[in-house]
Each structure stands twice: as C-alpha cells, then as structure tokens.
Symmetry: C2
Subunit: 228 residues, 2 copies
Amino acid sequence: MNVAIIVAGGIGRRMGAARAKPFLELCGEPVVIHTLRAFEACSAVDEIILVVHERERQEAMARLSSGDLAKVARVVVGGPERQDSVWNGLRHVDRAATELVIIHDGVRPLITPDQIAAVAEEARRSGAAILALPATDTIKEVEGNRVIKTLDRHRLYLVQTPQAFRAEIIISAHERARAEGRRATDDAALVEQAGFPVSIVGGSRINFKITWPEDLVIAEFLLKRVRP
Amino acid sequence: MNVAIIVAGGIGRRMGAARAKPFLELCGEPVVIHTLRAFEACSAVDEIILVVHERERQEAMARLSSGDLAKVARVVVGGPERQDSVWNGLRHVDRAATELVIIHDGVRPLITPDQIAAVAEEARRSGAAILALPATDTIKEVEGNRVIKTLDRHRLYLVQTPQAFRAEIIISAHERARAEGRRATDDAALVEQAGFPVSIVGGSRINFKITWPEDLVIAEFLLKRVRP
C-alpha cells in the first residue's frame, strides 16, 4: 500500500491573508481540495492522510463528507512547524502494510497524477525520490538588503513536492531528527542526513507553491487549462 | 543620463524552439518588444541599447522602424555568452554622459516601469541594486540525478533583472572580469567580485524569465492583465 500525506497546516504569513493558504479559494474551492483531487486520481496512491491546522479541521471534514475524495482516510491536526505536521501524519502510517509514503504540500494544487506516479516509481526503485527543477535564476545569499555571496548556479535545483520514500526510510529519518532535535525545510533533507541517497525526478514550473498573492491568479488560470 | 541595456541575444536551448527566446511570439509580438515597452514607459530610462543575436538584427531593426520605441538608440550584436553580450552593449555607453546603466533580460517581458524606477533609485543611492525574491522552495545541489547537499534556504534569494549600477562601477567591473578571464551568470556578481556592495530591491513573481514552454502561456495570460 502507498500512503500520501498532504500537508495543509500552514498559516501563510506571506499572503497577508486572514485564511490559511491551503484554504484560500481557487476556482470556487479551497486550494487543498484541488491538490487532493490529483492524488485521488493517481493509481499509485491508495490512501491519503490530510494534515490541517486545528482551526480548519471542521471545515476540511465537511468538505470531505461529499465522498468524492474517497481515498482520504484520516484528517489529522498539524504541529507548530511543517516537520511536526508531517510527523503527525507519519504516526498514522501502518509501517507493516505500507510500501511508500508520498509527502506533498497542500499548496501545490497543480501537481498531476502522472508526476505523482513518476516520483513514486523512482522511490520504489531507489528508496527516495523528489521532484525538482534546475535553477534558472542566479541565486545569492543576502543579509538585510545587502548581497553577501553569489552561489554557483550550476548544479542547483529548486525542490518541489511530492517527495516519496520507502516507509521505513522516512519514518526512521523523522524519528532520528526528532531524537536529535534536527530541523529541515523538506523531508528529503532528513533522509539525506540519515545517509540515504535521494534521486531527482524532473518537475514542472506549473507545480509551484502558492505563496504570493499573484500566485492565486496564475494558479486559477493554469488550473482551468489543466483540468477544464 | 540613464542608459538601459536589454540583452536579447540568447538562443534558448531549453525551449526546444527553432527561434531565439526573445523573438518567440507573445500576444502577437516578439517577447522582447513587450520588454522594451516597459523601459520606453519608464521615466528613469533615457536611452535603450538593444543587444540581439546577429540572426535577429534585421528583424529587430524592422520592428523598431515604426517609431513607437523611440528610446532605442542602438541595436548591437551580442557575443557567445550573456556576459559578452552585455559587454558589447556597455562599449556603446558614453561614460562621461551616463549616470546609471540598467541591465535587463529581454526574456523578462513582465517587468513594470515602477520596478525599473525602484531599482534605478536604489542604484543612484547605493551604487548597485538588483531585483530579487526570497527563495520559497528548498534548494539542493544535484549531481546527475542524485542530491549532493541541501542548502540553508534562510537568506537565499532568486535574482532577477533589472540590475542597475553607476556607470563607472559596472564598466570597470566588466573590464576587470575580461582582463582576468572571470565569468558570472549575472552582472551583479562581477560588481561583487570587484568589491562593491550590491543592494536588494524586492522583486515580483510575475517578473520571471521565459525559459520553459509553459512560461509563454503564463506570460500571455499575465501580460493581458498587466497591460490590457
């Protein structure tokens, strides 16, 4: 069995919105519902665990009651940071029955079933796989509003989700990070720290994370094209 | 006087297109014409030098003959790499008469006159300024299709253009880089290497570089909203 964990517990300080980003409206529905539809439609996904902020738990349950997102097996409450939210999802994964865990940001609604399946396939082969895009902009380190350093762009990738892992690998990586008090901005980093290799699968510009107000406008346009 | 150099000499291997990216069609006109319009409309820009590939020189001249882009003073031919193309533009800048040089990628057509003016204003104050956005994705170093290292995203910025500099600073930085055979992916890096401070001005997600085929579709949608 393959289990997807959709992380939708973020607060969205950058949007300047009162609502959490995964619950902002996109084509008449919360962002995260569109994300869930892609996973529902992917044959590589058997079960979905949705992680939300406590405030949105009731709303999420109500939205899911219509039954068209039948793979959503649980709605669990997230923690203070993304890593805690993923952990709360992982705690509900049946270790013995689960082959792959596929983790995805709830605010990337333009993911496609094909991309999810490609990452899952590579994780089945190699143990750990993530979607990523080669950097096309120069990347610099900044302090305040002053440039400190220009990085060598060659070999730099912008990392997306989904990230898929053999269940054993991701659960033990999170356990170790918790025991040692380590933090990371993505799950693959914890797996790397635990010494496992992580493979790259080519991502898409369209699979961006809704972060800025203008992103919602772009996402709405693209969603209508991708899922008319 | 402030001079803008618009670099439109790229070949565009990533697009898989026969045409150079700056000359792909966007809302019925070449991408670079939309870019030029933003600079034409910006009161902080007095003169524009357009750098194109030799193949597109005739086409560019024909497009400009209608006269609505009156600030374009010269169309010069680029070099093998972006840095060479910028240098070919800089050679036509009148050092004595020019206060600021504002360098911009021809394939960022969604730049606004306000953003150009903001970067110019900061360069006037501090000597060197660039548009940049804080990284929202995790960034990793990759070799082949394997992750080598996860960078600390904190303090990393994705760099855009325009980049504006006092004329003395950018010309001497390019001269030094040429003399010493140094290469960089953006002009600010050469200025940093020459020991000058570079300031950041907040960019916009919309000001992206047209790189992937889906970018043209997004740019067309946004352009119609921004310049109806």
